[in-house]
Symmetry: D2
Subunit: 343 residues, 4 copies
Amino acid sequence: MSEKLNLACDYMQGAHPAILKRMAENNLVKSGVYGYDAFSDSAKAKIREACQAPDADIWFLVGGTQTNATVLDAVLAPYEGVISAETGHICIHEAGAIEHGGHKVLALPGTDGKITAEQIQACIDKYWSDGNHEHVVMPGAVYLSQPTEVGTLYSLQELEDISRICHHGGLRLYVDGARLAYALACPENDVTLPDLARLCDVFYIGGTKCGSLLGEAVVFPKRAIPHFFSIVKQHGAVLAKGFVAGLQFDTLFTDNLYFEIGRTGIDTANRIRQTLQGKGYILPFNSPTNQIFVLLDQTKLDELSEKIEMSFWDKPDAEHTIMRFVTSWATTEEDVEGLKLLL
Amino acid sequence: MSEKLNLACDYMQGAHPAILKRMAENNLVKSGVYGYDAFSDSAKAKIREACQAPDADIWFLVGGTQTNATVLDAVLAPYEGVISAETGHICIHEAGAIEHGGHKVLALPGTDGKITAEQIQACIDKYWSDGNHEHVVMPGAVYLSQPTEVGTLYSLQELEDISRICHHGGLRLYVDGARLAYALACPENDVTLPDLARLCDVFYIGGTKCGSLLGEAVVFPKRAIPHFFSIVKQHGAVLAKGFVAGLQFDTLFTDNLYFEIGRTGIDTANRIRQTLQGKGYILPFNSPTNQIFVLLDQTKLDELSEKIEMSFWDKPDAEHTIMRFVTSWATTEEDVEGLKLLL
Amino acid sequence: MSEKLNLACDYMQGAHPAILKRMAENNLVKSGVYGYDAFSDSAKAKIREACQAPDADIWFLVGGTQTNATVLDAVLAPYEGVISAETGHICIHEAGAIEHGGHKVLALPGTDGKITAEQIQACIDKYWSDGNHEHVVMPGAVYLSQPTEVGTLYSLQELEDISRICHHGGLRLYVDGARLAYALACPENDVTLPDLARLCDVFYIGGTKCGSLLGEAVVFPKRAIPHFFSIVKQHGAVLAKGFVAGLQFDTLFTDNLYFEIGRTGIDTANRIRQTLQGKGYILPFNSPTNQIFVLLDQTKLDELSEKIEMSFWDKPDAEHTIMRFVTSWATTEEDVEGLKLLL
Amino acid sequence: MSEKLNLACDYMQGAHPAILKRMAENNLVKSGVYGYDAFSDSAKAKIREACQAPDADIWFLVGGTQTNATVLDAVLAPYEGVISAETGHICIHEAGAIEHGGHKVLALPGTDGKITAEQIQACIDKYWSDGNHEHVVMPGAVYLSQPTEVGTLYSLQELEDISRICHHGGLRLYVDGARLAYALACPENDVTLPDLARLCDVFYIGGTKCGSLLGEAVVFPKRAIPHFFSIVKQHGAVLAKGFVAGLQFDTLFTDNLYFEIGRTGIDTANRIRQTLQGKGYILPFNSPTNQIFVLLDQTKLDELSEKIEMSFWDKPDAEHTIMRFVTSWATTEEDVEGLKLLL
C-alpha cells in the first residue's frame, strides 16, 4: 500500500486473475477435503502430463520452508544431512527449520549460488574416506534450487552431472522450484519439467511466487514415499481445504498459464536489466531470471530508496550495497516504464 | 462434487462471499509480506477490540494442527507435556504432531469431550507427590477446545475453574477454537472472547472452519512469546502472503461477520437436531453447536448413506454406528429442507 | 550408606566381584575404542552363542532409557508410535524420552504389567479400520519388558502369540530386559535367550541391574540396522571406552555368571516372599522375580520405614501403600535373615 | 592389545589405579542412585572448592557428545544456534547430535582450532543487522573447547574477551573440557578452574580422557537450569549408578590427582615433541598439550605405521598426512623411550 514504485518481491500481491475468477466460480462447490478432491486430482493429472511422468506422486503443500522441511525429513535417514550451497534458502533463510527437523545442512561454497557435481563428489568422497566417518554426518541428499537464490540457472548438463553423482553415491536429488516458472520461461534455460522429473528424486513446482495465493506442488516422479500424508500431517503441512491449492495448480497448468506467468516475469525483468545496463549500473550476479541485483553506492542508494521499494540483498563493503528488484506475473508496463524514469 | 446431499463437514467449500469479494477487490494491492501488512494490522486491531485485550499479541497461522504444534512447542519447556482429553484433537487426529515436536500428550478420560478442573488438579498433584517425579513428564499446559471435539461447550464457570487451577499450578491454559464461531453464536454458550482473553494464556480463533479459505488467529492476550516469528518460521508455518490470512480475518471481524457465520451454522444445526429428535433418532452427545451426532442401526445407516454424505464418527457396538452431520456458514435452506425429506 | 537394612533397589552397589577383578587385571591394556575392541568382540561372540543367534548384531549401550530411546528411534518410522502397557517404563518413568525422540507411546491398560496379543491386534485393527487413519499415529512397534515393571513374566506362549501378531501386522517386537537375569533364573519362566532371539526383532540384555557397573547389550538377532553406530552416536549413547562395557558383558557371559546372578536374586527374593506370606502380608502383584511388592497400612508402613529402606511404589487408597523390596546378585544371607527379624 | 607401540589416543585404557582401588574398596557400599549419593555429594563439594564457586550446580554425565548435546539443548532456545569453530567437535565429530537436538551449529573458520572475540562479535552483529534476521538462526551460545580439538589453548585474555562479548550480546558461553586436565597442567596455560567458573555460563571437566572410566562433570557456576535432571533423563544421560561417576570425580579431586594426571600427560608429550623436533619432524599445529601432531610424507608414514599405532588426523595434500600421537595419565617412561627409538 506504499506510494512508492514497489518492485521488492514476487509475493506481495494476490493471485493471477484467472485463479481468482475460477475460485469465485467454484466457491460453493462441495469438495473432498485434505487434498482428496476433484480439483487436486485434475491438477495432478495435468502436472504428470507436463512432466511426462505418468507415475508421479504429487502433493500440494502450503509454503516453501514447510515443503523443504517436510520433504527433506521424509527422504533423509536420521543420521543423514543435506548438501546445499552456502547461499541456499535452507541454509540461511529458514530459521533453522531443517536442523529443527534433526538434519545438518552440509554447506558448500557456491559460485553465483550454484554448486557443482565435482564439489558434491568431493563431499561424498571426504565422508567415505574419513576413518572416523561413523562419527560424521552422512551426506544423504542434495538440495538445489532452480533458479537459485540469486536467480541463476543450472544448465541441463550441470543437472545431469549432479544427478549422476547423486544416484551413483546413493544420495537423493531434490530441487526447490519456488520460482520455477521464471526458470522455465527464461531463454537461457535448457532444463524442462520432464528433465526435472527424469533427473530428480523429488522437486517442487512453486505456486506462491508464481501466481497463486499459496501452494507448492511436490513431485516424486518415480517413487512415492510410504505414508507421506501422515508425514505431511505431522509437520502441520496438510491444508484442510486442500482444494484451494488444487484448484490453483489446476488453473496454473491449464492453457500454459504457468509458462505465461513465467514469461511476463522474465520479459519485464529483461527490460529492467537492459535499462539498468544502459544507464551504467553494475549487475553483480549473472541472473537471467526475475530477480535483478544491482550494486549501488550510498548516494545512489539513498536517492533510489526515496522513490522505489527494493529489497536489501547484501553489503559487500562499507560504501556499497546490493539491492534487488523482483518482477512477477503481476509486473506491469507501468511498473517497467515508471522504473525507467526513476533510475 | 457429489450428487448426494452433503453435510459431511464444515471445510468443504471456499470462503464466505464477503471474503472472496474483498480478496478480488484487493488482489493487485502490493502488500508487506510474512504478515507485516496493513490488512493484518487492521485485523489484529479488530480482534484486540473484540477480545477487549489491547495488548494482545496476534499471529495468523495456516491450519489447526500446525497451530497446535507451534503454539504448544512455544509455551512448553522441553520436559513438559500437555494435558488433554483423550478425545482431544491433538491426542488422536494430528498424526502425532505434538510428539513429533517432542512433547507427551497427557491424556485424561473426558465426559462428552470435556475434562474438569478437578481432574487437572489431580494430574498436577499426582506429578508433584510422586517421589520419582523427576523421571516423569511434568504437566506444563492444558489443551481444551471450545467447542470440544464432540461439539460440547465449556461453561464460563468450568473455564474459570480450570484457569484458576492452571495458573495456581504454573500451567499455561491453551484453548483451540477451530470452530469458535459456532460456540460464540450458540445460545447455550456463556463464554465470550473477552472471557477467553482473560482466562487463557493463549487461544486461537478458527478461520478455516468458520468462513475463510484458511487461517487461524493465535491470540496471546497477556504476554507475547519472544521471537515467536522465528518459532513459527522454524515450524514451516509462516505464510509468505500473510496478507491473504490478514484480509480474511479483517473481513471476518468487520460488521460482526464472524458471529453471523456462527449463527448460520447454529440455526441450521438446531433445525436439523429438531427434525432428528422429532423423528425419534438418538443423538448421543449433548452437542449444542454445529456438529450433530446421530446413532444409527445398520439398516438406517445403509439407507441414509445412499442419499446423504455424512462423516463416520464411531462404532460403539457391532450393530450401531455414530455418524455426524456438520453445518457451517454455507449451509443453506435447501440443505436443511432437503435433509428433512431424506431422514 | 544408610544404617538401615537397605533393600530398595538392584542398582545401588558396584559390580559383581568377578567383573571388578577382571577390570583390575586388564586396567592398563590398550584397547580399541568406541566398542571396537577385543573384549567387546569376545562378549558378542558369547552372547550370540547364548542366544543361538550366530548372525546377531550386538551393541553395548550405557543405560536403559538411553537404550529404549535409541532403539525405538532406530526401528520406528517418524510417523509410527510404539505400543506399551500403561505401566511400561517408557510410558511413565523416562521423562518423556520417547516423545522427545518424536514418537507417541500408545498406552494399553495392562494386567499385572502385561498386555496381550489380543489387545495388540485390536490396536492394529482399530488403526487400519479407522477411516481417518492417515491422521492417526500408526502402531509401528510393541514394547514389552521381561520381567515387566511389576516383576511379572510373559510366558513363552504369550510371547509367541505377540510375536506372531507383530510380524503379521508389520510391527517390530522389542523386549526390554533390564532385569532379564532375574527372569531367566526364575523357575516360573519358560522363555529362554534363544526364544527371545527367535521371537523379537530386537531386545536388550540388562547389565546395570544384573551385576555390571553399567551397560545394556542390544541384540538384533536377525537384521542389523544400517548405520546404527551413527544413530547411537547421535543419541549421545556411544561409550568412548566401550571396552568397559564389553569386558563386563564378557565376564557376565563367562561360566554362566549372568544366570548365577539371576539365581541369587531369585533365591533371596523367594525367601523374603515366603517370610512375608508366612507373616500374613499381602503381596499385590503376582511377581515371581526379584521385586517383591507388599501392601502396608499406615501403622505398618511407619514401623517398617524406621528400620528398612524400601522403595515407594503406589498408594492405592488413603490408608494403604504399596512398597517394594528388591534383591540382586549382591543380596546376602545377612540381608535376608536381618529382614526376617524386622518384619 | 596390539603388539605395536600404541600412542593413538587418551581413552584406550581403564581408570587411574587410585580410582580402581577406591571402587574396589567401596564396591558393596549401598548408595543412593541416579546421582543422589554421598560420593557424588563429596565430589561436587571438592569441585566447587577447586572452582571457587560455592553455588555451582554440578552434574555427572557419561560422555562428551552426550554432554554437549544435553547442555546445549538446555541452554539454547529452540530458535537459537551455537557458534563453534569449524573444527569444533560438535561441528564435525558428533554425527550431527546437536542438529538432532534441533539446533544449528554456526561454524566460524578458526586458526589453530580457535575462534576470536572479534569473529563472534561479527557473527552477532551480522545477525542483528540483517533486515531478515527473523528468518535466520539466532546465535544463542558459543562453544569452545579447552584445549581445542587440535590441542591449542585459549589464553586468559582471549577467554575474558570472548566472555565479555557473549554476556554483552546475551549469548551463553560453554567450554568443553574433555581434556581439561591437560590444559590445566600445561605451562603455557594461564586459565584456571576459578577463571572458567567466573567467565563461563557452563563448562565441563572431562573425566573419560583424564583418568576415569567414564564421566564428565558439568558445572553451572552461577545459575542452575530448572529441572535439569529431567532434561538429562530425557536425553538418556542419567547414569543409574551415578555413584560410579561420583566416586571417580571424588577421587580425581582428592590430593590434586586431576592435576597430577594432567602433568603426566604434558610431561610425556613434551618429551615426545622435543624428540620429534630434534629429529627434524614438522609439527603443524601449535599444540602445547597432550596431543602431538606431525606431518609425514608417504615413506615416513608407511615406515612409522609398521611400528607405531598413531591416529589419522588429516591429509593436506596427496603426498602428506598429518598423524597424531596422544599421551595421557597412563603414558609411561617405556612408551616415551620406546618411541624415541622408533622415530
